[in-house]
């Protein structure tokens, strides 16, 4: 079971690396920023998988903080670009 969950976490990590393509090549700023938001949500998923695999409830706190504060960059960006137009 642990092996399976760790394998899933590695898969998620590979998904993140594919998402990196959009961050680097993305035609517009919005594509890049949404790529970074993908990092945030998949990061939460990886942390939850590791929490079950390593039997560490402390990791749930990390996931909670990450889920709560990852949108901060997005809020800033949306606010700045709406002021621009």
């Amino acid at each position: 079971m642990n092996t399976y969950l760790t394998l899933l976490a590695v898969m998620m990590l590979l998904v993140l690396l594919f998402g990196l393509i959009r961050v680097i090549r993305g035609p517009g700023s919005t594509d890049r920023l949404l790529g970074s938001q993908l990092f945030g949500s998949v990061g939460v998923a990886i942390l939850l998988l590791l929490a079950v695999a390593q039997q560490q409830t402390a990791l749930l706190n990390v996931a909670l903080v990450l889920a709560l504060l990852a949108p901060l960059t997005l809020i800033t960006f949306v606010n700045l670009s709406s002021k621009q137009s």
Binding site: N2, T3, T6, L7, A9, V10, L13, L14, L16, L17, L20, V23, I24, S29, R32, L33, G35, S36, F39, G40, G43, I46, L47, L50, Q56, A58, L59, N61, V62, V65, L66, L69, A70, L72, T73, I75, T76, F77, L80
Partner: protein
């Protein structure tokens, strides 16, 4: 047991390689905005590394500061630096 250790080792190797890759890409980016976004992604990856190193306290602080605050701070400063300084002239009111 052997296969568990090897999968975790693979995860660590993948994390280490992608962190180095991401750091290189961050500083190689031509565009400052891309560099900021890549740095936020690097912060998230480093959070997972702190978890792998059993440093949960540091991981919480890094998740809050590296993923949230630094990105917002750098974006704000970039937006303010990115424009040429406009000196309001005496009859600027007519324009606006």
């Amino acid at each position: 047991m052997v296969i568990i250790v090897s999968i975790e080792l693979w995860m660590d190797v993948l994390l280490a390689v992608s962190t180095v890759l991401l750091a290189g890409l961050t500083l190689a980016a031509r565009n400052v905005f891309t560099a900021i976004v890549l740095y936020v992604c690097l912060g998230l990856l480093v959070t997972i590394i702190w978890v792998r190193l059993n440093a949960w306290d540091v991981a919480i602080a890094e998740a809050a500061i590296g993923a949230g605050l630094t990105g917002a701070l750098l974006l704000m400063a970039w937006r303010r630096l990115n424009h040429p300084v406009i000196v309001p002239s005496k009859d600027a009111k007519d324009v606006s």
